[in-house]
Symmetry: C2
Subunit: 123 residues, 2 copies
């Protein structure tokens, strides 16, 4: 696994709604799995899997205390990165939101492909 693969892996760690919700939830204080589960919608198995992912990507760390496992952001760098996402998004928001003709790749593709298809069927 070369550096680029690593970078992709790290970035994919952030690129999911559930994981962003988890990060939001533990941004200011460490939480146990069940605390996270109850704060955001999720089911325990699903959240647990996402936490494993986040940990594997180096985004969060886990600390065991008795039967509880507390998850928190890995470090200040990660926190700063999360903050920076919001900063940059402020700029980009308009443009990204109005991107409603992108198909292919992830940029809202499937949702829009649906629309497209519907339009084809009944124009």
């Amino acid at each position: 696994m070369d550096y680029l693969d690593l970078k992709v892996k790290f970035l994919k760690g952030f690129a999911d709604r559930t994981r962003l919700e988890i990060l939001e939830s533990i941004k200011d204080a460490e939480k146990t799995v069940l605390q996270i589960v109850s704060e955001i919608h999720g089911n325990q198995s699903n959240i647990s899997q996402h936490l494993a992912c986040l940990k594997g990507c180096g985004i969060v760390t886990a600390r065991q205390e008795g039967k509880y496992i507390y998850y928190s952001l890995r470090d200040e760098q990660v926190r700063r990165l999360l903050t920076m996402f919001d900063t940059v998004l402020g700029d980009v928001e308009q443009q990204v939101a109005s991107c409603d003709k992108n198909d292919q790749c992830l940029c809202g593709k499937s949702e829009l492909k649906c629309l497209t298809k519907r339009r084809i069927i009944s124009p």
Copy 2:
């Protein structure tokens, strides 16, 4: 599409090897599609699709000049973000690289699931 969806979309824009290669390629100077295609491995269609994605995610911008279209990073913020990825990765590199037991989700899952399955079949 709410703010979180937007954020996910934006971040997914970065979370792909080919797109990172494209970004690397245009980091310091705008390039045409064919220039990018020849610099990195890719085929024209594929690169074109990734460029559409990057544009739709607000990561790059395009400027037409005659029959050429020049792509470049959207702005300084995006450039700074790219730089920051590398900074943070420096810290995380060791941990992410050694994450070789994560299955599920994206963290290198499939590759490793293979290993796991092979191990199960012939231990």
